[in-house]
């Protein structure tokens, strides 16, 4: 295993073994077989070092900056940092030193200089209501900005559930008319990295892939990288054996909860949530929601906010059954009505009874 990347890393004081270790861990996180770690290391090491670092433009729309927080927290001065250092982040409102006209200028310069080659990262949803007036930057609506910047982009990364699906701004009743990036842009490759917030390493994984192969990784039909969203939380959950044994925590403070039993009955959405939390974990591998005793909210799935309640088991009705009393009443009314009609018919038949005589046996 040798190549420009190894040399670059060596210059930064990162050893070959460190890189191997990182790749083994990344493969494990991406739920790939251990052998894939080595293959990835070979591929990435052999990738030609870009003469010029690729440009990245990051546009924030209706968002809470949680996604940015999540990504920046992954910046330990390590290999991940190296990979981030391999790009040129030309516009990122939260992080950039420039402000006002200077910032706008940086944006336009980056767009002009790297036309057709830059990577556009979007976090936040795009409001369509009131002609987009709900969210504007530099006098431009998010819709206009997105269309303008997307035009020259090589690919778009929709960062977080808001950009990927509309997210919380789109939650019922969606007052701003929020939509996802893919609802607006139809002619560019878009990759969704949903989550509220998304897992940082997914972003680095996608970046690494983009850097290594110049393309977006394989995606599922919701446009998510398969490596991270290929399996459900439930299937990779360390509490899964308890589900299979039928051992469930019934409340957050009962015996079962303390023994770490399955949180299905407390509303865990793990079975229908495709994400890598169970393997990658959060905060440098410290823990993740289920490990800390709370069910999965399903934040990497579309419309998770309107999924019928975070604390309702998946097999429970999403809406309360309001129809019971009404249905019983209508059913009873229908039944009684038919029974009256039947009784009338029957007594009619009885009343019309002509006593049969022998002659009546013949037609």
């Amino acid at each position: 295993m040798q190549g420009p990347l190894i040399d670059t890393l060596a210059r930064y004081g990162v050893s070959r073994r460190s890189f191997l270790k990182y790749c083994a861990t990344l493969a494990s996180m991406m739920a790939l077989p251990p052998s894939a770690g080595r293959a990835m290391a070979e591929a990435m090491a052999a990738a030609p070092a870009a003469a010029k670092r690729p440009s990245v433009i990051w546009l924030p729309f209706q968002e809470c900056t949680g996604c940015t927080e999540s990504i920046t927290r992954s910046h330990s001065p390590s290999i991940e940092g190296m990979i981030f250092d391999m790009v040129s982040l030309d516009y990122q409102e939260t992080l950039m030193a420039a402000a006002g006209h200077q910032a706008e200028e940086a944006l336009h310069n980056a767009m002009k200089e790297n036309e057709g080659k830059y990577l556009l990262i979007v976090d936040g949803s795009v409001p369509l209501g009131l002609d987009g007036a709900y969210s504007c930057i530099a006098g431009k609506s998010n819709l206009e900005a997105l269309k303008e910047v997307a035009k020259g982009a090589a690919a778009i990364v929709a960062m977080g559930s808001c950009a990927a699906y509309g997210g919380i701004p789109k939650a019922n009743p969606n007052p701003t008319g929020a939509v996802s990036v893919s609802d607006v842009i139809k002619d560019k490759p878009i990759i969704n990295i949903p989550g509220c917030p998304p897992i940082p390493v997914v972003m680095t994984g996608v970046l690494a892939h983009f850097l290594t192969f110049g393309s977006l990784p394989e995606m599922d039909k919701l446009g998510r990288p398969k490596a991270f969203y290929g399996e459900t939380i439930h299937d990779r959950c360390y509490r899964r054996p308890f589900y299979d044994q039928g051992k469930f925590a019934k409340t957050f403070d009962d015996e079962g909860a303390r023994k770490g039993w399955c949180l299905f009955e407390l509303g865990c959405k793990g079975p229908v949530t495709y994400n890598a939390c169970a393997t990658v974990k959060w905060n440098g591998g410290t823990s993740w929601p289920v490990e800390s005793g709370h069910g999965c909210l399903g934040c990497s799935e579309p419309d998770f906010w309107d999924g019928g309640g975070f604390y309702k088991a998946l097999s429970m009705p999403a809406d309360p059954l309001k129809v019971v009393a009404g249905a019983v009443a209508v059913g009873a009314a229908a039944g009684v009505a038919v029974s009256f009609a039947n009784r009338a018919k029957k007594s009619g038949a009885k009343g019309g009874h002509e006593t049969t005589t022998l002659a009546d046996l013949e037609k």
């Binding site: 073994r17 330990s76 390590s78 770490g260």
Partner: protein, 135 residues
Amino acid sequence: MSLADIPVIQGVASSLTGNAPILLREIAEHLRRLLDCGETAAIDLQALPLTPADRAWLRERLGNGEIRVALEAEGQSTLEETGCQGVWWVTHHNEKGAVVSEFIETAFVPELVKAHPDDVQSGLEHLELLISDLC
């Protein structure tokens, strides 16, 4: 109410699931292949539905061997030979000490331990520099 009053039972959150004994058979199969055709293999422990108790059970069964390699590279890594020679327990930590990945490898010597020729070359160059300095 103080924090101490909250009755959290540490470590109970894991009991045996019965998944660990199955792994022993898989490891044995990998070892057979290592002997037959020199093929190495690794099992990603984080990819399996194992509780901490399962892992502890497995670790205990496999036992401790004679070699323990500590690797300092972006956090510590340990490569421990288990009581079954040829079976290595590999744990990677990050700089904060958290476990980032954990494998059971079957190999005569884990690949990570071996030095790469390029690095040996660098080592040789460094050594030659040292020698030239002596003169």
